[in-house]
Amino acid sequence: MTPTEADAYSTSAAAYVHVPFCSSVCPYCDFAVVAGRDDLVDRYIDAVCTEIMTSESWRPLEAIYFGGGTPSHIDPLLLGGVLDALSLKHGISADAEVSLEANPEDFDATRATALRSLGFNRVSFGAQSFDAGVLVALGRRHQAGQIESSVRAARDAGFENVSLDLIYGTPGETTNSWSDTLSRAIDLDPDHISCYALTVEPGTPLGRAVRDGAEAPDPDIQADRYENADKVLNAAGHTRYEVSNWSRPEHECRYNLNVWAQGQYEAYGNGSHGYRDGVRFRNIRRVDAYVRAVESGKTQRSGNDVIESWDAEIDRLFVGLRRVVGVAPGPGVTAFLTSDSGRRLLDAGVVNMVGGRLTINRPLLTDEVHRCVIDLEAPECTPTQIQ
């Protein structure tokens, strides 16, 4: 993917749909999810459709992403209903990427066929690991074999774009088990692989356990795993295009490319965040509260941030620098290069200028760069600008 191609996503139209329902909540998860409330599913999907139909209509969507939660946990026809609403309201481009997240244990041939026929063409599996011990430690309900069968089911149903999510650095994981997970993932010939460091979030069961003395992931071991993954995946033809994402050529996730190119995206469902017409907005986080708000005709929004011009420039760097292609020149890049902390990062080789673009050379230190970016100050106006 060339920088020009990556930046072009800034003008695309995308939409995110949140499906919060899960069979059980994984101990590390801090997303807006709920388990044991399947009684709410129908009302929830009605609410999402209502939200879509009452939103301001837009141009045809080029990327749609159903995330969760576990979209594969609910009846595919309900997801089809949401796609219908999106299509009615905004239209969906003929070549749009339509993704959903799925858990291996849910994804049999019947469901795969149903989802494919409803219009989904990309599936991202929460595989996480092929090590039985790690899967248990992560609170996952599937076994390694189910990852293999679900990928086969997806392929058989005609999904041309299959992605696997993997988690590394779980306490109990070994160098060998991580290598084994990588090679078994590659053997399934996915188009896209995301590798995430296990992150301890406060307020989650894992966060509380670590606070109370349980073993925390070791950042140096995680760095080793990450470097190992990059090497192995490259050799298998997967190129990294963002901090945690690798793909075969032309198989980058277009929905996410839109976000990182500072493109606009609608967001529907509880706890979802969108960005349209210079405003970042978010919805009520609790499922039941969200449903009640929509049903009673009140606003489902819980906040809006108007992004003024300099903030937008900061955001352009903030999201864009996560990509391997980095960001194009602009006032933000100039401010970065003239700031003390920016120069330090350049001197230390954490960032680099490549073909006039600011790029991160050491993706594992991205937050260091981000802490510098969020503090950048707008340059002074030049006298000519004042006139």
């Binding site: 901090v243 965040h273 960005y275 955001d315 230390a348 594992l364 230190l365 937050d367 969020i374």
Partner: protein, 637 residues
């Protein structure tokens, strides 16, 4: 004498100065506030005690009992007026109050209670306060018994020639053991255990007996009313509206409002704009006679022009000899104070100047550190003083400061034989550029339950202490005397002592002398660059241990950076130990998609604020605490 004794409010001259006895002091009534009080009816005393033994509570109770303060107006610990004093329960600045008391003999007495600071750091102030008294009430906690400052203060009072009246406080507490405390007191002061007043400042029990004993046992002042004026300045403070307010004790002669006064040590002449008593309100009067205690306002605005301990006399008919005992209080402990934000340098200077208005013992000079930028080398009377000043600067003046590890003043003999004093390790010349170095020793006294004698001896010996006398106050309590380099106790000695004795031992010390020692400067290098703020002067035998300890500690305190940071300890050019803070490898958010942007930015912003407590030293980020924490107490010290 050509001097009229005035009570301006009374509007009349009262007395001729030769009798010294003045109208208005009739039997059975209080000596009038409008007349000079007969010395036989005056009692001047201080309460001296170990910290927390109830000095301020007793002072409050005495004021309440004598009606100086009504119960309704009573704030707990009225004499401790500074916030920090209240919070820590200690007295930093002495205060004074005049109490009117009708004793059981039917006579009215004027009792001047002169409060004293309760900590070893302020012993100069204690000694000035004691110099204004004829008696001292030695207060001992019935639970804790005699402690180091009880003893140190008792010795100060005895040395000052005061009548020491022992009293045992807190007899109401369930754990009180007044008999044991009494036995310990008898061991120090002699006398009979039966004569010791037992009381509770909290419940009020025994307060009458305290007042009666003060009237009976504290000798009345015996100043010469006909001699030229001699009055002792025993304390001063700065008031934003009135300038410097002095607390004075008239010894001989009379101090009159409007008099032209000579300050004998500073040789300055100022007019007495206003004089009066503290009840504790300011009550202006026309004259203070011999033996009386009160305040003096001269209009002087700069605190350092009035020296505590100075003798005041009349400018026209001056006394020939000053009262004994003026000495410049000498800073013992030095530390660099640097603003975290270099732009706050001027703000720090102004804050120090303001603090100095009320604390003449605070001294400083500008200091430049390659690591920390511009700041001040400050001299303090002791560790508590240092801590209090730093806390006040941060709290009252909203400054964010880096304090370097405290050190002492060394005397360096130069190649030409001259001796210079250095207050900062950076100033120590290389060993070839000096003939020798001497360091200050103190005489330290530790009071401890006898079971801890072993661990204390071990600690003192490790710190180069030379153990002297061991004196059993009772079978369970021992006084240990030793001589020890001040540098060995300025930092964590007290904490270690407390931890080795479960908090039961107490410490007091006084300066002794300077002694030659084989001292070296250990430098700490971060990323190859010496960091002056971490340099320390230590004994050669302890240098290796010190170097290892420091590099090890710093490795734990300095967060991982973008590159490997070597930490080395060196003497001259020789590296004695090395550690490395490995470069940070991973600092990244795994997932960042559309939903997370705002939240993620807020999180990073919070992390960023945490980083403001960092100081850039060369290219290395060092947490502010590291400058002191690197030397903090641990078990192996």
């Amino acid at each position: 004498m050509g001097k009229s004794l005035r009570r301006e409010e009374a509007g009349a001259a009262v007395g001729n100065g030769s009798s010294g006895l003045v109208e208005g002091t009739m039997r059975g009534s209080f000596p009038s506030r409008n007349t000079v009080t007969d010395q036989t009816r005056i009692r001047n005393f201080s309460i001296i005690a170990h910290i927390d033994h109830g000095k301020s509570t007793l002072a409050d109770r005495l004021m309440e009992k004598t009606g100086a303060v009504s119960e309704r107006d009573m704030r707990e610990q009225l004499l401790d007026s500074m916030d920090l004093e209240r919070e820590r329960g200690i007295t930093i600045k002495a205060q004074t109050v005049r109490l009117d008391y009708t004793a059981s003999d039917g006579e009215g007495y004027v009792i001047n209670l002169i409060d004293t600071p309760g900590h070893v750091d302020f012993s100069y102030e204690v000694s000035r306060s004691l110099a204004a008294c004829e008696g001292a009430l030695l207060l001992t906690d019935a639970v804790q018994g005699v402690q180091a400052q009880t003893l140190a203060n008792a010795y100060l009072a005895i040395d000052a020639g005061l009548e020491v009246i022992p009293a045992i406080n807190k007899i109401d507490l369930p754990a009180a053991n007044p008999d044991r405390a009494a036995a310990e007191i008898v061991n120090i002061l002699g006398g009979s255990a039966n004569d010791i007043v037992r009381m509770s400042a909290k419940t009020g029990a025994g307060i009458d007996e305290v007042l009666e004993t003060v009237v009976r046992d504290v000798p009345p002042p015996q100043g010469d009313p006909d001699a030229p004026l001699r009055a002792l300045v025993f304390d001063s403070y700065f008031d934003a509206y009135r300038g410097v307010v002095c607390y004075v004790r008239v010894v001989d002669g009379h101090l009159g409002s409007g008099d032209s006064l000579r300050f004998m040590a500073t040789k300055e002449v100022h007019d007495a704009d206003e004089i009066g008593f503290l009840t504790p309100k300011f009550i202006p009067v026309g004259t203070l006679g011999p033996g009386e205690v009160g305040y003096l306002i001269t209009g002087v605005k700069e605190i350092d022009r009035i020296k505590v301990g100075d003798t005041i006399t009349e400018a026209r008919t001056p006394a020939t000899e000053a009262l004994s005992g003026y000495a410049e209080p000498k800073p013992m402990v030095f530390s660099g104070l640097f603003p975290t934000d270099g732009d706050d340098f001027e703000k720090l200077r102004e804050a120090l100047e303001k603090l100095r208005l009320n604390d003449a013992s605070l001294a400083w000079e500008p200091e430049t550190s390659k690591a920390l930028g511009f700041g001040f080398r400050c001299g303090f009377l002791g560790l508590l003083h240092m801590e209090i000043v730093r806390e006040r600067l941060e709290r009252e003046y909203d400054l964010d400061l880096v304090a370097t590890a405290p050190s002492v003043a060394y005397q360096v003999t130069m190649p030409d034989g001259s001796v210079t004093e250095i207050k900062s390790p950076q100033d120590l010349p290389e060993s070839i550029d000096r003939q020798g170095v001497a360091e200050p020793y103190v005489k330290a006294m530790i009071l401890t339950p006898s079971e801890y004698v072993g661990p204390i001896m071990e600690l003192a010996t490790k710190r180069r202490g030379i153990v002297g006398n061991m004196n059993y106050l009772s079978p369970e309590r021992v006084e240990l005397d030793f001589e020890i380099p001040l540098a060995e106790i300025v930092f964590d000695f007290f904490d270690l002592l407390k931890s080795k004795t479960k908090g039961y031992a107490s410490l007091d010390y006084e300066p002794a002398d300077y002694r030659e020692a084989d001292l070296v400067k250990v430098d700490i290098l971060l990323n190859g660059q010496p960091v002056d703020a971490f340099s320390a002067i230590v004994h050669r035998n302890g240098a290796d241990h010190y170097g290892k300890k420091m590099t090890g500690r710093l490795r734990g305190l300095i967060p991982r950076q973008l590159f490997d940071v070597p930490i080395q300890a060196a003497i001259g050019g020789r590296i004695i130990s090395r550690e490395t803070v490995r470069a940070k490898r991973k600092d990244v958010t795994a997932k960042c998609y559309g939903g997370d942007i705002s939240r993620k930015k807020k999180l990073l912003q919070r992390q960023k604020e945490g980083k403001k407590r960092m100081k850039m030293v060369g290219s290395v980020e060092v947490p502010q605490e590291a400058f002191v924490a690197a030397l903090k107490v641990d078990d192996d010290s």
